[in-house]
């Protein structure tokens, strides 16, 4: 109860007028059965949090059900400890990369048989992402990926190719005077666009071998990223350090995701978003994430609370109004088929959307979970010049295989 009170006191009721008109096509009212109360967990930035609270309020106002949302600070730890202990939520909001692992560990529930929405309502990639071995364990509402962001004061025209981009970066890169060519966190997720652009891959359960770290294409891609981007970046590969120069207007380009935009707006940087430039002989192919509402273990029973949770998830992922607003305000990339490529979307989102089209969804296979850390270590080493790409990837692959055992 205290959550609700708190929601009421802290959401200052902005845009209340919009809310009432928006709830028209939600299927919730038509449902029968008793009213339930569901818990939903998420981990959001401050800017997104307001919208989320507003959405919850809107749903709770319009529906007989109640959904209580909490912003949980370490969602992974929290879910893995609380769900098996029977203390977990009904729904939680995260990118789709946990799907396989969590399904195998019994943290999430398949509700494909009870769904009231057709998965065809979402883009194919999104619909694919929420399933594991044919089980639907949640509903998608947005995509995320990294794309090219440029400072309009320095760059007139977003470059089409990496070669073009390089010359612009070169022009602006001058660390002595605190300007840089590029702001680019150097980790597996961010680098995946290049690692996969020449046909390489990190991990693909349908490929042979599943682990593609040492494939020559992958190595080539990473080497490419290293050669072309590192010289124009600050020395620290971590997100924080990389994000800073561009957001202060001191870098020509950034490669980053939609979540970055709010910071940029806050700081008043004049920016534009474009598709990732293409490397010679390839196409940037970043890993994409699908943000989704997971059906947690608590939804295993068909009671009113589960109904509440499901109806919220369905309402949230299909409500065009809501999603459009999210796109406008938070740069969220819709995966609802009806909105996906729509011209109604702001240009940034359209650009991200295009990148998403080029990209490949992150694997949902549980084994993927054990790939990230060794790969991150390898990339750090490579970035720091402590090892060649080939050697580092070999080492990483070895560690991954050990972990799998």
């Amino acid at each position: 109860a205290s959550v609700q009170e708190q929601n009421e006191t802290t959401t200052s009721g902005d845009g209340g007028a919009d809310d009432t008109t928006a709830g028209d096509d939600s299927g919730t009212t038509t449902e029968s059965g008793p009213a339930g109360t569901a818990k939903a967990w998420y981990r959001l930035q401050n800017t997104e949090l307001e919208a989320r609270k507003a959405a919850l309020k809107q749903f709770n106002d319009d529906s007989k059900h109640t959904v209580e949302g909490s912003d949980v600070s370490d969602l992974k730890k929290k879910t893995t400890s609380a769900i098996p202990a029977g203390q977990g939520p009904h729904l939680f909001d995260w990118a789709h990369d946990w799907v396989g692992d969590y399904y195998q560990r019994g943290f999430v529930t398949d509700r494909s048989d009870q769904l009231n929405v057709d998965l065809g309502t979402y883009t194919d990639a999104a619909a694919e992402a929420v399933q594991f071995e044919g089980n639907v364990v949640g509903l998608p509402y947005a995509a995320e990926t990294v794309s090219l962001v440029y400072n309009e004061e320095m760059v007139d025209q977003p470059p089409e190719t990496v070669a073009d981009m390089k010359s612009v970066m070169d022009e602006h890169h001058d660390p002595e005077n605190n300007t840089y060519g590029l702001s680019y966190p150097f980790d597996p997720y961010f680098v995946s666009a290049w690692a996969q652009s020449f046909g390489g891959y990190y991990f693909d359960p349908e490929n042979d071998p599943m682990l593609g770290l040492t494939q020559s294409e992958t190595v080539k891609g990473i080497q490419f990223a290293l050669d072309n981007f590192k010289p124009f970046m600050p020395n620290d590969p971590s997100y924080e350090a990389q994000a800073a120069p561009f957001s202060e207007g001191n870098a020509a380009f950034a490669i980053n995701g939609p979540w970055y935009l709010s910071t940029l707006k806050e700081k008043g940087v004049d920016f534009g978003v474009a598709k990732l430039p293409s490397p010679e002989g390839g196409e940037a192919r970043p890993l994409t994430g699908i943000q989704m509402w997971y059906f947690a273990k608590a939804m295993g029973e068909d009671d009113a609370d589960t109904a509440a949770a499901q109806s919220f998830a369905e309402w949230y992922t299909t409500n065009e109004d809501l999603l459009e607003k999210a796109a406008k305000n938070q740069g969220s990339i819709p995966v609802l088929e009806s909105l996906a490529g729509s011209d109604a979307l702001p240009s940034d989102v359209r650009a991200f959307s295009e990148t998403v089209q080029q990209g490949a969804p992150m694997p949902t296979h549980p084994k993927m979970g054990k790939v990230w850390q060794p790969l991150t270590d390898a990339l750090t080493k490579v970035f720091n010049g402590d090892a060649g790409v080939e050697a580092a990837m070999k080492q990483a692959e070895k560690t991954v295989r050990e972990n799998w055992e």
Binding site: S12, N46, Q87
Partner: protein
């Protein structure tokens, strides 16, 4: 109660002392200056003092530079960051206290309506208390202030029971260990000394076990349970600390009281405890700090609505970005009460930590 009163008095003295320091300093400076002018005092000495003071100040400031740096980013408006590309800056470019306002949010005591029914009549007196505004966040362009006040309340409701509980556990134990001889006394003391140190960082290692136990007993997400846990972890070190302190209190006070006819518990209440003021203050601060700053266990055990300040602070950090200005402002606001308390308790803590009982 007299303990409380004496603490209040001491705090007052300290405050007065603090306030009169400039006056005293001025007086001293004048005396020295006169002495120097009259040729009685060699000018080398005051200069040496000045030099040493400045040197000390430099060291202190160097140590505190990270804090200052945080402060700058907190004052740089919402865009502040400790990752500033623009080189070393000693002052914020566009100082703004907005992040602090965001942390605090509105400080408004709303107006209440108080009705007083007048007996034997139908009528009632109705008062409207005025609305008192200390800080109106919206005036600074802050619409969605942080949950600081709630976190603060949670922290307080965790830290205070922690302090009370640990005092209840520590004080009798320390007294008995310091003053009485009984079976197993040495073993317990030895164990405490040992665990004082082993216990310090077991937090993480024990998290799994702890969480399991809490969950199974259904005590997770309970602030009180967390307090009990903190109090438990505080027992060895603080018992030991207080025991060492009590060892330094001459036995003759106790004997005087006994000869005066005081029963054991009154000896403790009327003599030992008031004389252990410094030790108690130290234990107080330490246990309070445990409850106030602990992060890992609190984050594991507590649900959102019960987040304490450190967890609340860390929930500002999202997967990809740290809102430095707010983060810093939050942290500094968080630390300020402790600084104040320490400033006044310093005397006691320095006395309470002297381990006088350890010598010889």
């Amino acid at each position: 109660m007299s303990l409380l009163r004496s603490v209040v008095r001491n705090v007052k003295d300290d405050a007065v002392g603090l306030a009169t320091t400039p006056v005293d300093t001025y007086r001293e400076a004048r005396y020295t200056a006169e002495g120097v002018l009259a040729g009685d005092i060699s000018p080398v000495r005051p200069l040496k003092s000045l030099g040493l003071t400045v040197g000390a100040l430099v060291v202190v400031l160097a140590l505190l530079f990270p804090i200052y740096w945080i402060l700058i980013s907190a004052l740089s408006g919402s865009g502040g960051s400790i990752h500033s590309v623009d080189g070393l800056r000693l002052f914020p470019e566009q100082p703004s206290i907005q992040p602090f306002v965001w942390v605090l949010g509105d400080l408004i005591v709303p107006s209440y309506r108080i009705g007083l029914a007048i007996p034997f009549t139908e009528s009632a007196l109705v008062f409207d208390t005025p609305q008192i505004t200390f800080l109106d966040a919206s005036a600074y362009g802050v619409d969605n202030p942080s949950g600081f006040k709630m976190f603060f309340w949670n922290s307080l409701t965790v830290a205070i029971p922690t302090v009370i509980l640990s005092m209840c556990l520590v004080v009798p134990g320390a007294y008995a260990l310091s003053r009485r001889k009984f079976v197993g006394r040495r073993k317990i003391l030895f164990g405490y000394v040992l665990l004082t140190q082993v216990g310090g960082g077991l937090g993480i290692a024990l998290l799994i076990g702890l969480y399991t136990v809490f969950v199974q007993v259904g005590l997770n997400d309970s602030k009180l349970a967390l307090s009990v846990y903190y109090a438990a972890t505080a027992v060895p070190f603080n018992t030991w600390l207080l025991k060492t302190y009590m060892d330094g209190i001459p036995v003759s006070y106790e004997e005087a009281a006994v000869v005066d006819g005081a029963p054991a518990w009154r000896v403790v209440v009327e003599v030992i405890l008031p004389l252990s003021k410094a030790g108690l203050a130290t234990v107080f601060i330490f246990t309070f700090l445990t409850g106030w700053t602990e992060f890992v266990v609190a984050q594991t055990l507590l649900g959102t609505e019960n987040y304490t300040l450190p967890v609340g602070l860390f929930s500002l950090v999202s997967e990809y970005s740290v809102p430095w200005a707010r983060f810093s402002a939050f942290a500094l606001t968080f630390a300020s009460p402790i600084m104040l308390v320490y400033l006044f308790a310093q005397r006691y803590i320095e006395g309470g930590l002297s381990f006088s009982g350890m010598e010889g």
